[in-house]
């Protein structure tokens, strides 16, 4: 077992090519190849939480589908806990949990409680583990009110919490989350993140998550991978990503009255003025405090807020740099 720990998830030049038929004129159809995953290699040690991000159509979901054994890779080598997912899918399934944001793995017509009972028997979860895990999920994900409700009647956010619980009842070694915070309100997002962090620290669960919400990454992931056009564009820390992408945060200030663009603040430049409100951009890695102090010292400040850089902007910028 220990031998696997450094490379609990292991991809070596993994590819997935879809052949699609496209309309090419009237009645004629043309075969066309989509290289959804185009030679991806990486390793994830046991217990790490990895953010797997990238623009729409980058190949994130396709990677997760190969890792879970849903799709058979077109090329390359892939191992999870030493198991080839496409060869021994059911054996690996016992050890992994999967949440698809866009799709429930629960039984549409069953109340949550019955779905969980079925999960318990399918995964052969020992009684005490099941009771303990269910109790914890119900408490931390706020499911008490929802247990008797059929899945089809749950709202998107409620269903998502129900799905996350279902994926963790059997103490998986690895957890794949494909957009797990989609549709969650602010409070639920905080709850889900706290819960995932707790699961990771307590059980050393390896987590691979895709998201379009930078906050998820900031609060959960030690490591970020940026994917585009089926290739790894970046693999490292979030801070490093900001440096590479030269991303900027924005300080939004409301002044007492309309004034000319703010000047003379070291490390920041005014990018927009709208009445009494002004926008100042500064490097994401820099601290906001000295900039706020400099503005407050020279201008009549009423209110302020800091906007985080948009992950999509960071990636878009980074990609433009690489290809240009």
């Amino acid at each position: 077992m220990a031998a696997n720990d450094a490379a609990f998830i292991e991809l070596d030049a993994v590819e997935k090519v879809f052949t699609v038929r496209r309309r090419a004129g009237w009645m004629r159809r043309e075969r066309h190849e989509v290289r959804a995953v185009d030679g991806i290699s990486f390793q994830v040690p046991r217990g790490e939480v990895v953010g797997y991000i990238g623009p729409n159509g980058a190949g994130k979901s396709t990677t997760i589908k190969m890792l879970t054994g849903i799709l058979v890779p077109s090329g390359g080598r892939l191992r999870v806990a030493g198991i080839d997912p496409s060869k021994e899918r059911t054996r690996l399934a016992r050890r992994m949990g999967v949440v698809f944001g866009q799709r429930t793995t629960l039984w549409w017509d069953l109340p949550l409680r019955d779905s969980y009972a079925l999960v318990r028997r399918m995964y052969r979860i020992p009684d005490d583990r099941y009771r303990h895990n269910l109790e914890r999920c119900v408490e931390l994900l706020d499911l008490a009110e929802l247990l008797e409700v059929p899945v089809r009647q749950l709202s998107l956010g409620q269903r998502m919490r129900g799905d996350i619980a279902a994926a963790l009842l059997h103490d998986p070694d690895v957890l794949y989350l494909d957009e797990p915070t989609i549709g969650l309100d602010v409070i639920s997002k905080v709850k889900v993140r706290e819960f995932l962090r707790e699961v990771n620290t307590e059980q050393n669960t390896t987590v691979l998550l895709t998201t379009h919400d930078l906050t998820d990454i900031e609060q959960l992931c030690q490591r970020v991978m940026v994917i585009d056009h089926g290739r790894v564009m970046y693999d490292g820390s979030l801070a490093g990503l900001h440096a590479v992408g030269e991303s900027e945060r924005t300080l939004v200030v409301d002044l007492e009255r309309e004034l000319p663009p703010i000047e003379g603040v070291p490390g920041a430049r005014t990018v927009r003025v709208d009445g009494a409100r002004q926008w100042l951009a500064f490097p994401a890695a820099a601290s906001a405090a000295p900039i706020v102090a400099a503005v407050a010292a020279a201008y009549p400040l009423v209110d302020l807020s800091v906007r985080e850089p948009d992950i999509e902007d960071v990636i878009a910028k980074m990609y433009a740099e690489r290809s240009g």
């Binding site: 849903i70 999967v98 698809f100 799709r103």
Partner: protein, 272 residues
């Protein structure tokens, strides 16, 4: 340690079926109405044959008891399979909308999951009808019940059900490539049972040959039944060919299993 796929599959099948039965039993009246409706439809289905015999004494040289025997065996074998695998026609839809994904991440065989999905106990209607007709025909048949004939009866029903099952699975596997081909499958299964309810002598020998060598439906009940009824084989095969039914069933199931595995590997999910 490593349990066989078969045991795992059966266990999962039983779990999911149990769950569906429990949840349909929550609406008991609706279940009873559906089951009675099912039984009424299958009863009407046989009434056509009854009507036919009010005008003629024999169909293709077979009398009422003999035709009823064919009808009962075909219906029982098909009914068993339809009860156990009837949900498999939904595979195409799961392939199209990508919900097959969720079955693939669970630690039990996908085949067991799709077969047990929305298990409908009301489909026992056809088995009840088939067994009733079979019972009636047994009481009215003029057959010398030697031990080989007695033995062949249950063997025929089980291998017949297995051949139908292979057809259901192969048809479902085909839907991984042609996800809107559920009708093709039901043409073979439902069409097949209807054909087998009539004596082989009413069909052309080309058709009988086709359902012997191409799609071996003739082994479901025709060939074993001909031996039991002491009738000659319409395409000149030896009389004992009826005993090959279990072998044919095993071969069909093996082929269907291979097709299913290939189908799963070809599954491509959906973009979202």
């Amino acid at each position: 340690m490593a349990e066989s796929q078969l045991y795992q599959g059966l266990r999962a099948y039983a779990l999911i079926v149990g769950m569906w039965v429990r949840s349909t039993m929550a609406y008991r009246t609706s279940f009873v109405i559906m089951a009675l409706g099912n039984l009424a439809i299958t009863a009407l289905d046989f009434a056509v044959i009854g009507l036919m015999f009010s005008h003629v004494d024999a169909l293709g040289g077979f009398d009422l008891a003999e035709v009823t025997f064919l009808y009962g065996t075909s219906s029982t074998a098909f009914g068993l399979t339809d009860l156990a695998f009837g949900s498999m026609e939904r595979v195409g839809r799961r392939v199209r909308d990508g919900t097959m994904d969720t079955l693939l991440v669970r630690p039990v065989p996908v085949l067991a999951q799709v077969a047990a999905d929305r298990f409908a106990l009301r489909r026992v209607g056809r088995i009840i009808q088939g067994v009733a007709l079979l019972g009636w025909s047994l009481a009215h048949l003029d057959v010398n019940w030697t031990w080989d004939r007695v033995l062949l009866l249950p063997v025929m029903l089980l291998s017949g059900a297995a051949i139908f099952a292979a057809l259901f699975v192969a048809g479902a596997a085909f839907q991984f490539w042609a996800s809107d081909a559920a009708e093709v499958q039901s043409a073979f299964t439902y069409g097949g049972t209807t054909m087998l309810q009539f004596p082989p002598t009413v069909f052309t020998t080309e058709l009988v040959r086709a359902v012997t060598f191409v799609l071996p439906l003739a082994f479901v009940n025709w060939f074993p039944a001909l031996h039991i009824l002491g009738r000659p084989n319409p395409i000149g095969l030896p009389d004992g060919i009826g005993f090959a039914a279990p072998l044919v069933a095993v071969a069909c199931c093996a082929l269907a299993g291979l097709a299913w595995g290939a189908g799963l590997r070809a599954y491509r999910s959906t973009g979202s």
